[in-house]
């Protein structure tokens, strides 16, 4: 049984790593359709990654070891995060190693390494990107934590699988704290994953970019790993959201049938979530960078409001 648990665990990780670029491809596809463009294929991100792996890496002359190590650390952190998040099953062995707070810490580790690597070459854009990324991070991170606290208070645990399991045992009920935290979480997801309105993943317009500015000096396999890690991050965030807001259908045992249902449902939920994400991105305009802190401060306040409402009304 124990061995089987680990097999399910590894399958979950492999699924996340493999599906993440496809999920990004799906979001891009939806966005293209919504904007009346002809869409690239679902596997386009994979083609990009494969192309990058084959190229020769060009590295700036004064790049240090930190610069070359960072892509691996960021990728490793994102894969570990995928192992911690209950995406298909709640009773997985590795999820014990980190609860939701540690998960937020892990995402912060990735962000810090990404920013340090961007500062390593010492270009104007790199440091600018690092500063902006950290600015977004320090507002988004507490907002995400407060969102998780709301559920922690309700289910008196900070373990994500436990939250998902206990919530999925209840009937769905729309309560005010849920609404506030859902808005906050969506805003954090947009900001943390460099989506419109905070950042635009499809631009290299120098003065507005954040995430792309961090990756500017990377090429070939390092860039491929960074892109893959970014896709995994989006996938992870989507899975966190699904686990705490709509966990119904997640496998609480490792019976093959419930696992199969869980994987199918996860696929459906992700399709809907990806389409929703594309819709938000299409309907909103990119904010000026100065406005991004206000956007995130709003997210933080929404999360805190959710916490207060939960404590005041118990709902």
């Amino acid at each position: 049984m124990n061995v089987f648990d680990w097999i399910v665990q590894l399958m979950g990780i492999a699924l996340a790593v493999a599906a993440a670029p496809v999920f990004v491809g799906w979001v891009n596809q939806c966005r293209a359709w919504l904007q009346n463009k002809s869409a690239p294929g679902l596997l386009q991100p994979y083609r990009g990654i494969r192309k990058l792996f084959h190229k020769d890496a060009v590295i700036a002359e004064n790049a240090s070891r930190l610069f070359r190590l960072a892509p691996y650390v960021v990728f490793g952190a994102m894969v570990t995060a995928a192992a911690v998040i209950p995406s298909i099953a709640t009773r997985l062995p590795f999820t014990q190693a980190a609860d939701a707070i540690a998960l937020v810490g892990l995402l912060a580790t990735a962000r810090v390494f990404l920013s340090l690597a961007a500062m390593d070459v010492g270009t104007a854009f790199g440091t600018m990107g690092a500063r902006r990324e950290m600015m977004i991070g320090f507002l988004a991170e507490p907002a995400l934590l407060v969102v998780i606290f709301v559920f922690s208070l309700q289910f008196s645990t900070t373990a994500l699988p436990m939250i998902a399991e206990r919530l999925s045992a209840q009937a769905f009920a729309l309560n005010p704290s849920l609404a506030f935290t859902a808005v906050a979480f969506t805003m954090v997801l947009l900001a943390e994953n460099a989506r419109i309105p905070v950042d635009n993943p499809a631009t290299h317009l120098e003065l507005t970019m954040i995430h792309e500015a961090l990756l500017l000096e990377y090429s070939a396999r390092h860039l491929a790993l960074m892109e893959w890690a970014a896709a995994l991050k989006l996938f992870n965030y989507a899975c966190i959201g699904l686990a705490v807001f709509i966990p119904w259908g997640i496998a609480t045992s490792h019976a093959p049938s419930s696992l199969a249902v869980s994987v199918m449902l996860l696929g459906v939920k992700l399709l809907v979530a990806g389409a929703g994400l594309a819709l938000i991105e299409t309907l909103s305009a990119k904010l000026r960078v100065f406005r991004a802190p206000e956007f995130l401060a709003t997210a933080f306040l929404f999360a805190v409001l959710g916490l207060l409402v939960r404590l005041l009304l118990g709902a």
Binding site: D56, A60, N62, A98
Partner: protein, 674 residues
């Protein structure tokens, strides 16, 4: 404290050994005067001996943790006022902190003081080791006299260390401010002890434990203790001396002051509120809690705006002191409403964070010391790119940076995790509104922790990464052997504290048991898995966590090598193809702090001079002041000056007048006697 738990040992009791080690520190201190000008003697012999004493002290204190408390009465000092000493679990924990952190700092100092830092090395050695010994005596003291004696020795010896380079007026000024605040604090502590003795006029801590105070009096005593210890700790608004004094001292001394000395204040607060007071009232906790939260945010926001690397770290110390006092306040609230398990968890988190901060902050201060020696530069705006020239210092500092930014799997994360976990108990406090406001503290704490990440990326990125901002930096050399050893010691401490949380938590659990709060509930989790509250099922396993990341990293590297290639070409930086890149185009420290300045503008008093387009010699100036200094201290200083002017009227300068004063005083005294 459980009565009757005292066992008298012979000469080999832990307390006696601790006492001997502290005496050894005093001896090392005096030995510095034998050959005060010999750097070789002081650096190669005395400081390593001091470091050894520190490591031994930590070891002895660690072994004594599981022993019952011990007391000792030394018949020295004034007649009829013997010195009472006592070694219990709380003292042991702080002695471990002192010993272990100072061991690393002393080894570093052995290499660092080779240039004498503007004072005779022997003199530095005297003050440095007296400082260490006095901190040890603070943790061992068991009566108010001994405590105050050690406390004042600590303040004075550190004052002389701060003013090592006393020829610089700013440093003299910083030292004066430090001495002033230290003494105001000491008066408050003395008055607090005066109330705590409860009319028995016995100033031993045992008498204070036995005294029963009316709530009004105990509240007054608590407030005085908070003022006194808060001034030592640098709690906002009593923090003004800290960002001046800590950077002024030589780096190993800054490390000692930030890493260890600030914890004496925390020790004092825990001692007074949980041991001497017996049962604290729950609402007292709200004061340190709110001041702590404010300090945490205030400290970290100001740290983000600094351009001097040591000042930045000093402000970061204010942040960490804020976190510690937040936890302390929360523990008092929990203890006051009889939520003992929650109080124990919170207090364990506080002690854990104190231990963590001792290692990480010392590591960072020593790192800045190494940079300062290699480059002669403290201003972040003139540094950069040192990762190529100083790899040892860079990578060891990176460990400290990641730890203090609260990133798993290092140590800073563990204590913040525990503190957040204890905040999640707060909604059970049986007081309406308060139980709803308290969990918001967790949100603010999370904000402060995330901001610390910002500050640390700025600190590390601007100093060590990028291109060197000055040509002179190309000639910087890495730290010497002794310095590296000291840094490695502290970095290993950070890693161990991060990887083995269950071990350290059970250690701190002994303290909470002795303080009648009970330990953490027993759990059947394996040693590598941290489950502080079994029914909550929140767990954290740093080793597994680290192993997972490491495995993925190795797998990724290996599979890239297997399936693709490892070809690398070196070229000029791309930078969007702009070209003509130079080191002035990187973000400066001011630039990196700009979003924070913009966002938290109301906190800062900013003076800015911007050049216009028509200036022939454009000048840019930015000064970031502390609003609290202007709003609180300057009016206070003006008031003192005005009162002093009025009082000066008494000083007539004529003997006859002064004789008249004496006569009037005598008459008044006689009238009072009769």
């Amino acid at each position: 404290m459980g009565a009757g738990a005292f066992v008298s040992y012979g000469f080999n009791s832990p307390l006696t050994v601790c006492l001997l080690l502290l005496t050894a520190w005093c001896t090392v201190a005096l030995a510095g005067l034998v050959r005060p000008l010999s750097i070789a003697f002081v650096g190669r012999t005395l400081f390593p001996v001091g470091a050894f004493c520190g490591a031994a002290l930590a070891f002895v204190a660690a072994t004594s943790l599981r022993h019952p408390s011990e007391q000792l009465v030394l018949p020295i000092g004034l007649p009829d006022l013997p010195v009472h000493l006592r070694l219990d679990a709380l003292s042991s924990v702080f002695l471990i902190l002192l010993g272990a952190a100072s061991a690393g700092i002393s080894i570093f100092a052995a290499g660092y003081f080779r240039r004498g830092e503007g004072a005779a090395p022997g003199l530095l050695c005297l003050q440095y080791h007296l400082f260490l010994a006095s901190m040890g005596f603070v943790f061992l003291a068991d009566d108010a006299y001994a405590f105050m004696l050690a406390w004042e020795t600590m303040a004075l010896s550190s004052y002389f260390l701060v003013t090592t380079q006393h020829r610089i007026p700013e440093i003299r000024h910083a030292g004066f401010l430090y001495l002033l605040m230290a003494h105001l604090g000491a008066i408050a502590i003395l008055l607090s002890f005066g109330i705590l003795q409860g009319g028995s006029w016995h100033f031993t801590f045992d008498a204070m434990r036995a005294a029963h105070l009316a709530p009004n009096w105990s509240t007054t005593a608590f407030c005085l203790a908070l003022i006194g210890f808060g001034a030592k700790a640098g709690l906002v608004p009593l923090h003004v001396w800290l960002p001046e004094a800590h950077p002024a001292a030589p780096s190993p001394v800054s490390a000692l002051m930030s890493g260890v000395m600030l914890k004496t204040a925390l020790y004092g607060m825990i001692r007074v509120s949980f041991d001497l007071m017996g049962q604290p009232l729950w609402w007292w906790g709200l004061v340190p809690l709110s001041l702590g939260l404010f300090s945490a945010l205030y400290g970290v926001v100001f740290a983000a705006a600094q351009t001097d690397m040591k000042r930045l770290l000093a402000y970061s110390s204010i942040e960490n002191i804020g976190i510690l006092f937040t936890g302390l306040g929360l523990a008092i609230v929990f203890a006051g409403v009889e939520m003992r398990a929650a109080a124990a968890l919170t207090l364990i988190a506080v002690m854990y964070h104190a231990m963590n901060h001792a290692f990480m902050k010392s590591l960072l201060f020593l790192g800045t010391g190494a940079v300062l020696h290699a480059t002669g530069e403290r201003n972040l705006g003139h540094l950069g790119g040192l990762i190529h020239r100083m790899p040892w210092v860079t990578w060891l500092t990176l460990i400290g940076v990641l730890a203090i930014a609260g990133l798993p799997p290092l140590n800073g994360f563990v204590s913040e995790w525990l503190l957040l976990q204890s905040f999640l108990f707060a909604y059970k406090v049986p007081h309406p509104f308060i139980n709803m406001l308290l969990p918001l503290g967790a949100a603010l704490l999370a904000l402060a922790a995330a901001l610390a990440g910002y500050v640390m990326v700025k600190f590390f990125g601007v100093i060590f990464l990028g291109q060197p901002r000055e040509p002179a930096l190309q000639r910087a050399n890495d730290a010497g052997f002794a310095e590296r050893l000291g840094l490695v010691w502290l970095a290993v401490g950070c890693v161990l504290l991060g990887f083995l949380p269950t071990h350290f938590i059970s250690m701190f659990g002994i303290v909470t048991q002795q303080l009648n709060l009970g330990g953490l509930p027993a759990s059947d989790a394996p040693w590598w898995l941290l489950v502080p509250i079994p029914e909550r099922q929140s767990s954290y396993a740093p080793l597994v966590f680290f192993a997972a990341i490491a495995i993925v990293v190795v797998l990724a590297i290996v599979s890239v090598r297997l399936f693709y290639h490892q070809r690398i070409r070196k070229g000029a930086a791309w930078d969007c193809g702009f070209g003509g890149l130079n080191s002035r185009m990187q973000d400066t420290a001011e630039g990196f702090g700009q979003p924070i300045r913009h966002l938290f503008q109301p906190l800062f008093a900013i003076v800015r001079e911007l050049p216009t387009a028509f200036d022939s010699q454009p000048k840019y100036r930015l000064e970031i002041g502390d609003r609290i200094w202007r709003a609180l201290y300057q009016p206070l200083g003006a008031l003192v000056r005005r009162v002093a002017d009025k009082v000066a009227w008494l000083q007539q300068g004529r003997i006859a007048t002064y004789l008249l004063y004496s006569f009037v005083t005598l008459v008044v005294l006689l009238a009072l006697m009769l």
